[in-house]
Amino acid sequence: MGKSLTPFRRKDAVPHEKLFPLPLRERPVLSAVEGVRVRGVVGRSHPHQSIGLRLSLWTSFALIGFMLAAFAAGAGPLDSPGAQKSLVCSACHGFAGNSPGNTMPILAGINAAYFKKAIKDYAEGKRTSPEMEPYAKYVMHFGVDDIAGYFAAQKKQPAKVKADPKAISRGATLATQCVQCHGASGEGDTDKVIPALRGQAAGFVQAQLALFKENKRKPEDAVLDENKKRILKGLDDNDFADLREVC
């Protein structure tokens, strides 16, 4: 490694985060490469370190595991029905669900039950997204189980935008309220169908927090809804911008 993760771009290309920063508390982009995000729990590092060094041990193990798994299976990565039926998804969500973009959620490693619920909610318009609604219907049509199984089986590649340490520390303080449900390191809860937040795309998390706050997205469970409302009541858009950095 130690090379750009987007080798198809020019070396002098300006990362889009710099040209068109996410709104609020402009994110200082220390990484020179678009799509290379290093932040929060995944690892904070010196800007001059190589990307290879920046990857945590955890990441390396995950990568090796992924390669071994692919080899052992003895099949091309796209042979399964789930992989084929989700071919269209990678345009936005990245190969194998590892979105390199800031506001598109990473689907790799997603809890299958949570994925199915999200797809159903999008398809029924309970979760409003003009981008997702047609595709949710596509997924339902071609087979939500296959596609959920495929994404759940993929290894999440950590998000790697280098964030402002101050934002991370502010966010970490705020996040103490999230860990009750989402787990101490944001790993989620499979049994309770609570999504993992760890390593999720920052801009996506920020946007979802805003939707919850504006009551445009709502958990079905009344108690959860109450909890969320209570927590979000005291938080504003700037807090969401900090919270996005701790994932």
Binding site: T6, P7, F8, R9, R10, D12, A13, V14, H16, L19, F20, L22, P23, E34, G35, A70, F71, G74, A75, G76, P77, L78, D79, P81, Q84, K85, L87, V88, S90, A91, C92, H93, G94, F95, S99, P100, G101, N102, T103, M104, P130, E131, E133, P134, Y135, K137, Y138, H141, F142, A201, G203, A207
Partner: protein, 415 residues
């Protein structure tokens, strides 16, 4: 490597014949020379080449593309308004090489379907299956005076040097000037593209040259895509944009700096941008892949095999007959589906039944965008739309999503 492992395992275990059957054995014997050629390394072709290698690395893939670099048309309208630079949209083919795609930076000179060969320079390359994704050619001759003036009257409809030149012309125009833009009749590449361009130019005029005007002659009766959303945007720019539907550019006079339309209107310009009528890339026309209209290629909706020539698949803007727009997102989806079909067919398997999707963003100022999204399914062997949705209005959030889209899809094609 993975496939070799599987093959050796099947061979060693004696299961090969039982599992693969007689047809399988035939393709097994032929495997050594399974070759795919891809013509065109744009949105469709680059994706197809990569995904064939990802799906079955035992297949040899040769990509023919004259350009050494890939330049993204999506986001090139932002360059015209000075909010993005072409270098950020310029990508290379190193990622494809890493996947083992053999790239020749040359144009295919001719296809010989009977011999299953493509002529490139002095060479003849053999293929088992050919994928053709040549994009569009511009039909200069459809507008009087255009063919002779095509080096100075810019289209900028293939992102590249013309994009930069047109940006310069717009940005060096004196305040109070008139820009004339002409939109061709459907079908053309990127239905919302002309209106995104008009919005970005109008935004630029409004903020930097408020006394200037953009006149848009549209050969179509109304805005072709995201109609309501663009109408609202044009209202915001009312002082700087004059949209004239159902007026087709018929003549251009570069001496008089004048455009004449089919309704007889004549307008003088300081800067002109003519988007000419289009058809499939010349190579597809010459290989007789186009239908009765002599413009576009009809294909099977599941495998993208040409209805006119066996073993030749056509994807991207060059196709017609599917209810999908000519977009980069659709070309990318077709590339992946076609790759899967080609690999299946070369391995004697039934291709999976899959349909494309379309996510299409248009920027309308330096920060905000709108979007249209279409999902499709296959019914009776044909692509049918499941649903289309539009974003309710322009927003920063949608623009941010478009940036995430570009990071993903560029990587999907070339990473």
């Amino acid at each position: 490597m993975q496939n070799l492992t599987r093959r050796n395992f099947l061979k060693a275990s004696g299961l090969g014949a039982a599992l693969w059957g007689v047809g399988g054995m035939r393709s097994f014997a032929a495997e050594a020379r399974r070759k795919v050629i891809v013509i065109g390394g744009g949105w469709g072709g680059a994706t197809a080449a990569k995904y064939i290698r990802l799906t079955d690395p035992s297949i040899e893939v040769t990509l023919l593309e004259p350009n050494k670099e890939f330049i993204s048309c999506p986001f090139s309208n932002l360059v015209l308004a000075g909010v993005e630079s072409l270098k950020n949209l310029t990508l290379n083919y190193n990622g494809l090489r890493k996947h083992g795609v053999k790239i020749r930076h040359e144009a295919a000179a001719a296809i010989e379907p009977d011999k299953r060969r493509v002529r490139v320079g002095k060479d003849s390359l053999e293929y088992d299956r050919l994928i053709v994704s040549p994009g569009v050619d511009l039909q200069w001759e459809q507008i009087e005076g255009l063919a002779a003036a095509k080096d100075t009257v810019l289209h900028a409809w293939k992102a590249g040097p013309q994009t930069v030149q047109l940006a310069k012309q717009i940005q060096s125009m004196a305040d109070g000037g008139v820009i004339v833009m002409t939109v061709p009749p459907v079908a053309y590449r990127c239905p919302p593209g002309p209106y995104e361009r008009a919005s970005m130019i109008a935004w630029y005029l409004k903020t930097k040259k408020p006394k200037s005007k953009l006149i848009v002659f549209d050969a179509n009766k109304d805005i072709v895509s995201k109609t309501g959303l663009f109408k609202a945007v044009f209202k915001d720019y009312a002082a700087n944009i004059d949209y004239r539907p159902a007026q087709k550019a018929e003549k251009i006079d570069i001496g008089a700096k004048e455009v004449t339309t089919d309704t007889g209107d004549k307008v003088k310009y300081d800067v002109v941008n003519v988007i000419p009528p289009q058809r499939a890339g010349a190579i597809a026309v010459e290989a007789d892949l186009v239908g009765g209209d002599k413009r576009w290629c009809e294909v099977d909706h599941v495998t993208y095999e040409s209805v006119k020539q066996k073993n030749i698949h056509v994807i991207g803007d060059a196709t017609i007959g599917l209810p999908v727009p000519k977009s980069g997102n659709v070309a990318n989806a077709m590339g992946k589906i076609c790759a899967t079909a080609v690999v299946s067919l070369l391995n004697g398997k039934e291709p999976p039944v899959l349909a494309p999707g379309n996510t299409c963003y248009s920027w309308v100022n330096d920060k905000e965008a709108i979007a249209v999204v279409n999902a499709y399914k296959i019914e009776n062997g044909k692509v049918v739309q499941i649903e289309q949705k539009l974003t309710p209005s322009k927003s920063v959030a949608v623009a941010q999503n478009s940036l995430a889209w570009r990071a993903s899809i560029w990587n999907d094609m070339l990473g």
